[in-house]
Symmetry: C2
Amino acid sequence: MHLNTFSKDVYVSRRKQLSETMQNGLLVFMGNEESSMNYRDNWYPFRQDSTFLYYFGLDISGLVAVIDLDNNKEIIFGNELSIDDIIWTGPQPGLQELAQAVGVQKSGPVTQLVILLQQAQKSGQSIQLLPPYRPENKIKLSAWLNTTLPGIEQFISVPFIKAVISQREIKEAIELEEMHKACSISADMHLAVIQNAKPGMKEYELAAMAESIAMSHWGRVSYPTILSVNGQVLHNHYHGNTIQDAQMILCDAGAETNRHYAGDLTRTTPSGKRFTGKQEELYTIVLDAMDHAVSLLKPGITFREVHTQACIRLLSGLKQVGLVKGDPEEAVANDAHTLFFQCGLGHMIGLDVHDMEDLGEEYVGYSDILKKGTSFGWKSLRLGKTLQAGFTLTVEPGIYIIPELIDKWKAVNKLGDFINYELLEDYRHFGGIRIEDNYVINGTGSEKLGKHLPKTLDDLYAARG
Amino acid sequence: MHLNTFSKDVYVSRRKQLSETMQNGLLVFMGNEESSMNYRDNWYPFRQDSTFLYYFGLDISGLVAVIDLDNNKEIIFGNELSIDDIIWTGPQPGLQELAQAVGVQKSGPVTQLVILLQQAQKSGQSIQLLPPYRPENKIKLSAWLNTTLPGIEQFISVPFIKAVISQREIKEAIELEEMHKACSISADMHLAVIQNAKPGMKEYELAAMAESIAMSHWGRVSYPTILSVNGQVLHNHYHGNTIQDAQMILCDAGAETNRHYAGDLTRTTPSGKRFTGKQEELYTIVLDAMDHAVSLLKPGITFREVHTQACIRLLSGLKQVGLVKGDPEEAVANDAHTLFFQCGLGHMIGLDVHDMEDLGEEYVGYSDILKKGTSFGWKSLRLGKTLQAGFTLTVEPGIYIIPELIDKWKAVNKLGDFINYELLEDYRHFGGIRIEDNYVINGTGSEKLGKHLPKTLDDLYAARG
């Protein structure tokens, strides 16, 4: 069995940095278990917890790690295979061997962890958890800590959360290598869709094509694929439609490398050789907003500002088409853009496609001084805070024509000074366009992650052949 | 949104039959929820509970259904989408519309279910559950029934379990159609592996090829694919090896149709154009045992007997090669076959690849009079009971040369009268062979499910080109 970890120094050094930040307490890292599909032993593909992977590297189910800062100990807990297990699984490295592969000196059975936690509680040692998101881990923690399920909350440590985020958000060189790889595989997934899409095909046939490319690199998709002729439906995982002439196919899909780094790309492709005139017009507006947003990326700017500028650019373009009226800047200040672009311009990405979302968006995407908005549109902007070199993030502007939303706004002539509702009726069944790439912030600006993937009309049409 | 259910009469009639069997009580059917991968909102592909699918058809997360036999009511509980949700998901059918699509008259929010359960507890009505296998459903049930997690056990109803099994184990014509489809897609998955495998490829490249075929039919794999040059490792989901000359590639993979019926096929393919001499010899023995087992399938025979006869046939073949000594029947009576064939000849299959395994193997595969064995080998035979027309099952004999097991037996000369340990050393690194197809028991014998897939040496070699 090949463990597929980085060198042990990587993990030793990450834990050293965390330990120096935290200084004391008993830090608990819950690894994930297998997840059942339709009965206990029929499993989804195993996905290890990302923070566990970051500090302990072991892509194996049923492990828990602790860093006991008060007693200067690191221990990985798990259960050894029996001789019967080995007959079914082949010879496997023992727990102690696994621990040493990632520079951890001690290991033990889970029963010892329970004793350790109970002793810590008795002695008043501070037990610190990250927010659990898997129900089986909640059940285990509640039993081990002798508390109710809501009672786990008292052990969740904001300083621990913040310390982890401050490390994980700045990508190391070896991580950027994985991110480039994830984005290049993702680009190949999209290229297959761009080159093969045609009227008469089922959406699921194209999705299968894309996903098989992720798998053929020993990885998987980093999130459920969106591949739809109804790109305006933002949370759309239905793949049952037959592709028709003159439609747009929005594909939002990404690969996860076998070290679990994520790519997250979107392309919108004409079902025929070319977009229709209307489609070309709005595609160009989205692309222009994207280029503008990317040109602004650099350390020191808030992503909230980049989002705002991209929205202004979107509305400027829509004004030229006649769908928007008045001053684009004023329109955005009044949230008029949220009729067309209801979500955020991007989010952090890394070991998770929404990186560290389990730790809380208020810490990952915002800060003590910059809080997330609560109004429509702004509440969906996952990233707002000041960019730093080493951040990896998505940029994904779009235009989504959502009939239900138009009807809701039009009924009260909402922001009627900025919206041309009459002309908008002509676009009622237009659909949705999104373009998305991933970037790393460097010293002076940004660099796109992964290989080239057609994005301009010329490139896209050339790839369509 | 296309619901992809059978006609509503199918579900009405299934529930009618169940209600007639059970007569009273409050039957609770827990639908599944979305399963989180690396943070709450990043989901694995949704998999509905199979019993919920069987009686209520709705392939949608977060539903619970009840049949209240004492008050002659059927109700589906779930939560309606808000207008905000609809903006993100597009217009969706309401809960009442969903319920009516499967012939259920009443629906309501989950809060009403909680009240119903509490009233039932107060009034002493018998609340009957099937065994929950998802941790989130255990958490919900424990809250709703005001009990501890182990306390849920008291509500699990053996009569309910048996009633469900007695229905689900006899496949209807519309189900057999789905099973044929599942097995035909599975056959295409295997054909791709047989035709494309060659030295130098990675196992995961072949696995990706197979899985993409399942997806290209709007389905998925029905269980984690085994594709390995180490076929002797029975629970082997590692796909990282490079295929070498003169190896055998064991692929155990199956499709799940978009109505969630499973196929489960295995083929063992030479990495080159032909097997080696030794490989051919043992392949032929497995194939002969399989043909013999299939010839015995018919209503009235126990699958335990079919398994026993297949084992005798395997050992007869191995005796001809010289690996086994003495009388094959006596050897099997002494469990000598378990050195080569450690698992069972097959299992029930249907909506689950191990059909109804969540309900308990003692009820699905055995009966009040025929209990499962507890010794090595026999404890892994999932199906033992008397076959009936309408059963669908797998037949999957194999020979697995497991060095760790040989060493364990040889050290004490276990069953030395039957095993030629000296010759066995020549086979120490032989690997493993399995051949598997799926069958439906009919009035007089059995019928193979799905399209033809090469299995004889001639067919296999012809497909290798």
